[in-house]
Symmetry: C2
Subunit: 354 residues, 2 copies
Amino acid sequence: MAKGLTYQDSGVDQSRKDGVVDKILHMMKRTYGPRVIDNPWGFAGLFSLNGESPIFRKTYRRPVLVGCADGVGTKLRLAHELGKHDTVGIDLVAMNVNDLLVTGAEPLFFLDYIATGKAQEGVLLDVVKGIVAGCEQSGCALLGGETAEMPGFYKDGEYDLAGFAVGVVEKGRLLDGKTVVPGDVVVGIGSSGLHSNGYSLVRKVVERSKVKLDAVVPALGCTLGEELLKPTRIYARALRDATRAHNARRCVKAMAHITGGGMVENVPRVLPAGCAVDVRTGSWPVPPIFGWVQEQGGIEEAEMRRVFNLGIGMVLLLDPYFVDVAIRRLEKAGERAYVLGKVVAGDREVRFRN
Amino acid sequence: MAKGLTYQDSGVDQSRKDGVVDKILHMMKRTYGPRVIDNPWGFAGLFSLNGESPIFRKTYRRPVLVGCADGVGTKLRLAHELGKHDTVGIDLVAMNVNDLLVTGAEPLFFLDYIATGKAQEGVLLDVVKGIVAGCEQSGCALLGGETAEMPGFYKDGEYDLAGFAVGVVEKGRLLDGKTVVPGDVVVGIGSSGLHSNGYSLVRKVVERSKVKLDAVVPALGCTLGEELLKPTRIYARALRDATRAHNARRCVKAMAHITGGGMVENVPRVLPAGCAVDVRTGSWPVPPIFGWVQEQGGIEEAEMRRVFNLGIGMVLLLDPYFVDVAIRRLEKAGERAYVLGKVVAGDREVRFRN
């Protein structure tokens, strides 16, 4: 008679997984503030809104919850090829938290989903290390997550990541772009490079270039692999400082997170009817990686603008009155900020001018 | 000179994707109640807590947000093999919402992450159809999500799903099991079958059995494939009816969602120190699929109990006084409910008795 089957025979080893879970819980606690209600072996994470506190009641009379979900995409393949897994977690948090920030929300908590064929403890802990770092940069709690072992679903050593962020914003302070008018100023905050978009194309370009990931590319000042894995910037702290620290509550009228689709597709999402944006090329420095990708791939300028952030990770639309103070505060918070152009009459598009 | 690359060459066709997104947004709106703030092309979903309403203020003085993340696991492989994709979305919502319910929370909203190699419109819309159905069953809004095309990452036609649910519970009504005492009664709510756990093992068993997925198995009363794809039951409405409709606010002291690990591992998660649970075997009907899996796989009883729900999808621990009314209300809401045993003195374990 054939030997009976156990769950372990099918590739899922629950007891081994439990050891890793303890280590992950320990790392998660670094992100816990006083609003997290400890529930380590519970079925769900608990986050107190502190609704009874006078500060909360004053700030949030009509609280709106903001939720978003996103992944890292094929940038993960590069982490796999380079065997470096401690930064893609920052990308994961960044893609979600930056999306959340454009509504005007304060990030509260984050949850992750890590799916893999067979969990390798070292890789898994590195991924979580990045997620924890991203949560610390965003000021949000890593409230929970799921690590799914799906034998036969993912290639050996590969994994996919999905993340989910929740924030809160007072209804009257939601940034919906409705007050944007011609004459408003377009300010861009610098990206760290490619962030987490366009990697399917980037990987094709790398293949075509025949440049090895561990080769130093002089124009980049580092190896190609190091450049491609640079983590996405998280703008939580800088935007909080720039928009909250003075009395002008409405100094920022709209924000756009520049992800796949570039400025061309992301800025119009927050433009009201009758408005367009004029952007002066050359008004900000385009990081060298974009020139390298364009040249090696023979990619047209228009396509570059439709796919990549080209050095601007976040776009703010502001009343001219607040531009100087906003830029000063963003720079004080460690970001580079540039006046890119202005809002003009038009049909919800971005126009590049020399 | 070689032709320049575009994003489309790399396998990602943004314009085709946008057409599908419109259809998905249309489906999502079926789940929108008055608390969802419409933001279709925005960066994040918006859900108003209606903090200013007298009802909210009366119910939630100290609101605690509850968040969870989960996937469907290798049950997805069966959907792929059977070419049936409109029910795994229900499983996805169920795995998250049932986790959320055990804290005592009211589900508010859901977000999904769908990752695939190349999005096939029909498959994608079927998956979303299931997610929408699950959200409707749970009374939560499908607030947003991400569809990631990751060429070369997933096999053709395959996809992975992750979901995230957020709910709210008044702090003083959090179900944390602290009030559970020996003498309390263990009530189980029937599952629809395997739900979404143990599928790596189930697939091994199916392989070993040589039974085809489209073969009718007399003991099951349907084809093997139909049985294995039965969607996970969502207990949101029934539990709301059973726990809210009468004055006894604290009739349920703790709940455990029976997922991977079975009753053996999930019930102890909500037991306080000094308590164990005695469960009488035979006090509930075990659906025939479990007998089939056990027999075909030659799996030991203890292993079955550690992996599968064996017919009980949710366990409630109640004061004896409330058992009859709770069961009556669960049955009125369309669930099957059984007295499985009782809480006894012991060390946070489940003991099966004949």
